[in-house]
């Protein structure tokens, strides 16, 4: 344990009851910070609780127990209506727009690093901290705050944090930056926190049984209409039960057989069409993105070579990013060195230089209409 002579600042730790955020709180406490634990109550399931989900009451109880063991105050904050507005509503609306949303990104942007940070500052805290595997650095030259991968590359969570602004990064601590997951579990066991063996939370925390289609159907006001499967040329191939059931790259669950493997290559909400193609047609070398946030650079002025990551679990692929022409309807164009599979509108694209996050944005449908008639507009915001 590090002994400090001057009192360290106050930090509010977002505690989900899981091993990562529990250890984040423990490490800060051991370093001498004035630590306050908070758990956000963000959702109240109508059905049975999602097991291991971060919004269950048992998660709150776990967080409270860990805080008690650590000897830090713990509060439960009511974020239910805020979470519904900024995450759940965005999530359900996105499907109607033919996008595949990433609610964890919206939650990080609006809830954890938005409202929770604001509340923490109101409580007199200098920082918030979370159990993310990531690292905040400061570039001595530009004085910009940088977001970097942490020591555990396999657990890297920077993809879900690309939207952090300079001000947010300035007031954020990631205590697990230097640790690997196994080590974190081991440290939690050593300290008797009782969460060292909790399983990873994988599913969307507010969707029961991972059945997102039922969840969306129950929450939107417009009826989900059946529509056509079409090929890239617009020829009708069959009928589908509603575009919310599909995501780009999907093969299973089309409900129709075509005599050869067919994949979803695009969704067209205006025409209520699901565009199908063969495997090679799921690949593309170009994507467009909007809602950009830049971290290591103030903005993009000229083409830049990066590694671009298009989903949470993929590795980055070499690409060049181009600033948009004015009035083009997008903010950045990404051209990959090699075609990428299943570029999915609604998901994030995040740019890296090695371990450092350059920036990122939300993938949108082809603004020039590869997806036939899908008129570009800025829709549900991450």
């Amino acid at each position: 344990m590090t002994m400090t002579l001057t009192p360290k600042p106050k930090v509010v730790v977002g505690m989900s009851g899981g091993v990562d955020s529990s250890m984040a709180a423990a490490l800060l406490k051991e370093e001498g910070y004035d630590v306050i634990g908070v758990t956000l109550q963000i959702w109240e399931a109508t059905g049975p609780e999602v097991e291991g989900g971060c919004c269950s009451n048992s998660a709150i109880d776990d967080a409270r127990r860990v805080a008690f063991i650590l000897g830090i105050p713990h509060y439960v904050l009511n974020f239910r209506s805020y979470f519904k507005e900024t995450v759940v509503d965005y999530f359900t609306q996105s499907y109607l727009y033919g996008e595949t949303p990433n609610p964890c990104l919206a939650c990080n942007k609006h809830v954890k690093f938005g409202e929770m940070l604001r509340k923490a500052r109101g409580l007199g805290a200098e920082y918030i901290a979370t159990g993310h595997y990531a690292q905040v650095l400061r570039d001595p030259g530009s004085e910009r705050f940088l977001l970097s991968k942490g020591a555990d590359n396999r657990k890297d969570q920077t993809y879900a944090l690309y939207m952090l602004t300079q001000e947010q990064l300035e007031h954020t601590l990631f205590p697990l930056a230097d640790y690997r997951k196994e080590h974190v579990r081991e440290m939690a066991r050593e300290r008797g926190l009782g969460v060292g063996d909790k399983p990873e939370s994988q599913e969307i925390c507010f969707v029961p049984d991972d059945d997102y289609a039922s969840f969306v159907r129950e929450r939107i006001e417009v009826p989900i209409k059946p529509g056509n499967f079409v090929d890239l040329a617009g020829n009708k191939l069959g009928r589908h039960e509603g575009i919310i059931n599909f995501t780009v790259g999907q093969r299973k669950g089309l409900g129709v057989t075509f005599g050869k493997p067919m994949y979803v290559v695009g969704l067209n909400p205006e025409l209520n069409e699901v565009v199908l193609g063969e495997d090679r047609e799921v690949y593309t070398d170009t994507l467009w993105a909007t809602e950009l946030n830049w971290i290591s650079i103030p903005y993009l002025t000229e083409p830049l070579k990066v590694e671009a990551k298009i989903r949470y679990n993929s590795t980055g692929a070499p690409a060049t990013i181009f600033p948009a022409e004015i009035g083009s309807g997008y903010e950045v164009m990404v051209r990959f060195d090699q075609p990428q599979r299943a570029v999915t509108p609604g998901q994030a694209v995040v740019f890296y230089h090695g371990n450092l996050v350059v920036g990122g944005g939300k993938i949108i449908s082809d603004p020039r209409g590869r997806n036939r008639g899908s008129k570009f507009e800025v829709r549900g915001s991450i």
Partner: protein, 394 residues
């Protein structure tokens, strides 16, 4: 760190005299009051003495007191027990929009099970209109249930008048007096009530014990069946130490009520006036003066959230409350303040301080020193406060 407890409407510390007498009934006189032997008899005798003490505080006969596990159970027993007993006579129940959840949820449960429910509104001070209540009465109205004093804003209701009305119409009248007991006189005859709920832990007695006054001759159907204790109204071995502690707490409340009220009224007014002097954009919720419980302070502080206020106060050792806590301990906007016509944003920044016997002038000074600083810090982050200040200056 200084610790100041200002949440006596949530619960109170057990009076040392009460705790001392209870201890005897855990370790020495531990008999089951239903047993025939000496151990049982001494417990039974103490139980009946406690019943007398409770009855005396509310002007009832001891036979009219049924002990329960607390206020919530007593409310449930009164409402469900009456509805069940009078099911054939009618199915209409009247309550108000500022009742405690123990009453509101129970009435709503009955509504889902075939009863009709009228929830009457309150005025901006949180007081029920007797006229509105009179108009709500129907030929098939079987029960009126109204609280004596509100737990959030301290508004005292015209119970005696409502009781008279209920009596004239032959309607059973239940009153939840959990918050008023020990703070203002509660007399079942003067209030014209048929059923009255009281609780131990709000009057320096133990948690887990309460009672329902049931007017002699009134029939209610029990919720809990078994060994037939409490005249078959509430089976289960009596919580003897708790009941005896409750009895003692009632006796002490009777002795101390006048002094307590005077002391707390003085602190209450000091706190209210101090907040109004030191913080702008503040609204006092609930009535002022005699229509308010002597120990209640409730203010809405604009451009801040009650939750942030509460946490900031807690970090300085000051215990207050805001809204109503759900099972996980997070906060929802108060149905009482919304019922009084406050808009959501204002109800959100509300804070309740409830005073108790042990509070001192210094406690109030400490709050008045810290609260303005907290509010200032929180408002620094509110763009709405900025606008309000500018439009005020303009």
């Amino acid at each position: 760190m200084r610790r100041v407890y200002l949440d006596h409407s949530a619960t109170t510390p057990v009076d040392p005299e009460v705790a001392a007498i209870m201890m005897t009934y855990y370790t020495e006189k531990y008999g089951n009051p239903s047993s025939v032997h000496g151990f049982g008899r001494e417990a039974k005798q103490a139980l009946e003495q406690a019943r007398n003490q409770v009855a005396e505080l509310i002007g009832a006969a001891s036979g009219e007191i049924t002990f329960t596990s607390g206020g919530t159970e007593a409310d449930n027993l009164a409402i469900l027990g009456t509805a069940e007993a009078l099911r054939k006579k009618g199915k209409h129940i009247i309550t108000s929009c500022i009742e405690h959840h123990a009453v509101l949820e129970t009435c709503e449960y009955l509504e889902k099970n075939g009863f009709d429910l009228t929830v009457i509104p309150v005025d901006e001070e949180g007081i029920i209109s007797v006229d509105a209540l009179r108009k709500a009465i129907r030929p098939d109205t079987i029960l009126i249930t109204i609280m004596h004093a509100n737990n959030e804003v301290g508004s005292i209701q015209p119970i005696s008048e409502i009781g008279k009305l209920a009596k004239e119409q032959g309607i059973v009248f239940h009153v939840d007096a959990v918050q008023s007991l020990g703070k203002i006189p509660v007399n079942v005859e003067e209030l014209n009530v048929d059923l009255l709920t009281v609780s131990g832990h709000k009057i320096y007695g133990p948690k887990g014990v309460g009672a329902l006054y049931v007017r002699k001759g009134l029939r209610i159907v029990p919720l809990v069946h078994g060994g037939g204790q409490e005249k078959k109204r509430r089976s289960g071995t009596e919580n003897t130490p708790g009941i005896i502690g409750f009895g003692k707490a009632c006796e002490l409340a009777g002795q101390r009520m006048a002094d307590d009220a005077e002391h707390q009224r003085k602190l209450r007014d000091k706190l209210i006036n101090g907040i109004l002097e030191r913080i702008d954009f503040v609204k006092v919720n609930g009535p002022l003066g005699e229509k308010r419980l002597p120990n209640n302070v409730n203010v809405s502080i604009r451009y801040v959230e009650g939750e942030s206020l509460l946490l900031s106060l807690d970090m300085l050792g000051i215990a207050a409350s805001s809204g109503s806590a759900c099972t996980s301990g997070s906060l929802d906007p108060s149905h009482v303040l919304l019922g009084m016509g406050l808009i959501h944003e204002i109800a959100h920044g509300s804070l309740r301080f409830s005073l108790g016997r042990q509070n001192t002038e210094e406690d109030i000074d400490y709050v008045l020193e810290q609260l303005p600083k907290i509010v200032e810090r929180l408002r620094m982050m509110s763009p709405l406060y900025d606008q309000a200040i500018h439009s005020k200056q303009a």
